[in-house]
Symmetry: C2
Subunit: 406 residues, 2 copies
């Protein structure tokens, strides 16, 4: 506890750390920035900006750039800063129901290295060991002294906001699993680790640097084995009381339909999820993991996919009525289907959505391709760095050997 | 445009007006407040608070109160302020599909006078004339020099946020109606007027001074002829891109069901709206306006309402999965039904909602009874007063005769 008389000094220090973080976030979002842009964007004077840049340089987070963007005035290039080569990085984990993709991601959202594997056993400790192995792989070649800020994990299920507990990952059959601790135990290192729902992270990444930059109201729909949504409204993530908002795979859709793992009949997920798609095109259940490749192989939509497209559109109409978004990003298999059966999807939306809500919405492919969720996990792991860079870098792991200790 | 050198002064003036508004909002929310509470709550020193209070007194918005709340220290009563008798007021209009309720509402959310009528013709100009008549009636006895700050109107339909245009009021058969201008024309006076969706206003009022004070994530469900929701998430209203979010009456519910006015089959509204309730209990269509009295007349639920209760619960389960609220306020006829068929409603929620979302949600009756929406309209009309009291009072109508000019 600071003594009361230190109040002002403490405040100034907090403001300085806040400004350092804001500047670093700005550079991270764009990859680079000119000093003129920073001065204008942050509303601070040139000497304050210079001081902040100098401190971030000394922390190894940014470096000097001779020319940034275009030129200014009489053709003189604008000097500025860019994210540091060998600067801070994070590890992002996209956990699926039968595979994990792990990447080392640098500032600016650059994937520096990636590893992927299909796993056999799906017990949490088994998957934790698989993920730890992939993490070791992607950090092995990271430069020495390049700080590992944290690990971010996307989860195909419900994640408690307060502590990252996985309350339910239905297609892994996990209930109340503290997967973050399991991965840290398998790694044998102490590094900040955070978890969130996959669709929420997809929404975050597409909003930050994808198909919905500058869009205040958007839905990222994740169409995989499970179907979920990440919702951003008024520029803020829709979290709900516990962090579980967006479970739109369990909207009642066809009460006479198939049983869902949640215990109800005919949830939207049972009609448009990966298994329903596989059924429609007679892809055997064991090949569902390859469904992406199967769908990519079609030049033209087989007739059987049309009904799925219509059901996707009809469900999206309910979401559009409920959330009135500007953009719906079609993540997971919905992206491939939006290429194949676009007319059916658009038709379902047009039929089901109220005109006032339908007229202003655009359906879009994810601009980050298959990496929306992975890059969202990276953004989440970077977050503490933009809140307080000196503290986050103080906690970061610098020693390359320590990172692969386990 | 202020000259550049006036920058600091202009800023100080803006801060002062902001502080005046914040203090006034504080007193409005509680009806009264001690100076000690204000000093603590606003983080300003005693002399600044005294100056703000003096200015609000001179504006006629608050007045001195000798004793406020309990006592402090050695039994000495805490002096403070309360909302002024004969202070600023608003007119709130709750527009239904066949009737309008209009009230004069004072600061502190006190209904000072109320008038209500069932209307015959439902053309916008006819309804506008009816509403204008009721407005005249409730302001006729307002004290001279008591300022009319504005009129707030709740609408059973979709209201464009940018300008208050009613895009669609399905049960009035209105499309793109500028009802605010129509009412002003019928009144013949120029006063700030604002419009919003009824369920959104119900949510606002229950959050401000009802069943969900201090709750960050709540849904106010309005079960009337139409069914809609007002959603507050993370303490902010969920508006969507155009202001149309919350149209959950058109969630796909029973695709083999009855046709809805929106063109689809089996929207939730067709299964749980007033007409469905009336059908279930064999109340003839022309008596739907009295449905509230009919429901209130049951000591025990007739068997026919049980299926409706279950359908309400099943639909709420979809909302709970989508929004993960802490509280669902049962507005409109849903309140009466929650008294009659609570087990069926709770059962539908328990069956349909994911446990992580269901375990933390409470269904509640509106604490403001039938007045949630009306008081929400009043809060909306007061809003400019809490943003900038001197400006809002400068625009207000003081002259009692001018208020009933038309």
């Amino acid at each position: 506890m600071a003594p009361p008389r230190a109040g002002l000094g403490t405040n100034q220090e907090a403001v300085r750390r806040h400004n350092l973080g804001t500047l670093l976030r700005h550079v991270h979002q764009r990859g680079q920035s000119s000093r003129a842009e920073l001065t204008k964007g942050m509303g601070l004077n040139r000497s304050t900006i210079a001081g902040l840049v100098a401190e971030l340089e000394s922390l190894g987070a940014v470096e000097h750039a001779d020319t940034v963007g275009g030129t200014r005035g009489a053709g003189r290039p604008s000097v500025g800063v860019r994210v540091a080569r060998n600067g801070p990085f994070v590890v992002a984990v996209d956990l699926g129901v039968d595979r994990a993709v792990v990447a080392r991601v640098g500032m600016g959202g650059t994937v520096l290295e990636r590893a992927e594997t299909v796993f056999e056993g799906s017990e949490a400790w088994q998957v934790g060991a698989v993920v730890a192995g992939l993490v070791r792989k992607v950090v092995a070649d990271a430069p020495d002294l390049s700080p590992l800020v944290g690990i971010g994990i996307s989860v195909p299920g419900l994640v408690r906001r307060s502590d990252g507990l996985i309350r339910l990952a239905p297609n892994l059959d996990w209930h109340d699993v503290s997967f973050g601790s399991i991965v840290l135990a398998a790694l044998g290192v102490d590094v900040p680790i955070s978890l969130a729902n996959d669709a929420d992270l997809g929404a975050m990444a597409e909003h930050e640097r994808g198909a919905a930059v500058g869009v205040g109201d958007l839905i990222y729909v994740s169409g995989n084995v499970g179907v979920g949504a990440g919702v951003i409204t008024g520029g803020q993530r829709l979290e709900g009381a516990g962090g579980y908002a967006g479970e739109i795979g369990h909207l009642r859709f066809n009460p006479g339909g198939k049983p869902c793992h949640c215990g109800n009949l005919g949830c939207w997920e049972t009609e448009v999820g990966a298994h329903a798609i596989a059924d429609a095109i007679r892809c055997p259940p064991e090949r569902v993991p390859e469904l992406g490749a199967v769908l990519a192989g079609y030049a033209k939509a087989p007739r059987e996919l049309r009904a799925i497209g219509q059901a996707i559109g009809q469900g999206l109409a309910s979401l559009i009525n409920a959330f009135n978004p500007q953009v719906v990003v079609m993540g997971g298999y919905f992206g491939a289907l939006y290429s194949l059966v676009r007319d059916e999807i658009d038709g379902g939306v047009a039929d089901g959505a109220l005109p006032a809500a339908a007229e202003s919405v655009t359906l879009a492919h994810p601009a980050l391709g298959d990496d929306s969720v992975l890059l969202g996990a990276a953004e989440m792991a970077f977050e503490p760095l933009f809140v307080d860079p000196p503290s986050a870098l103080g906690r970061a792991i610098l020693d390359a050997r320590a990172r692969v200790a386990g």
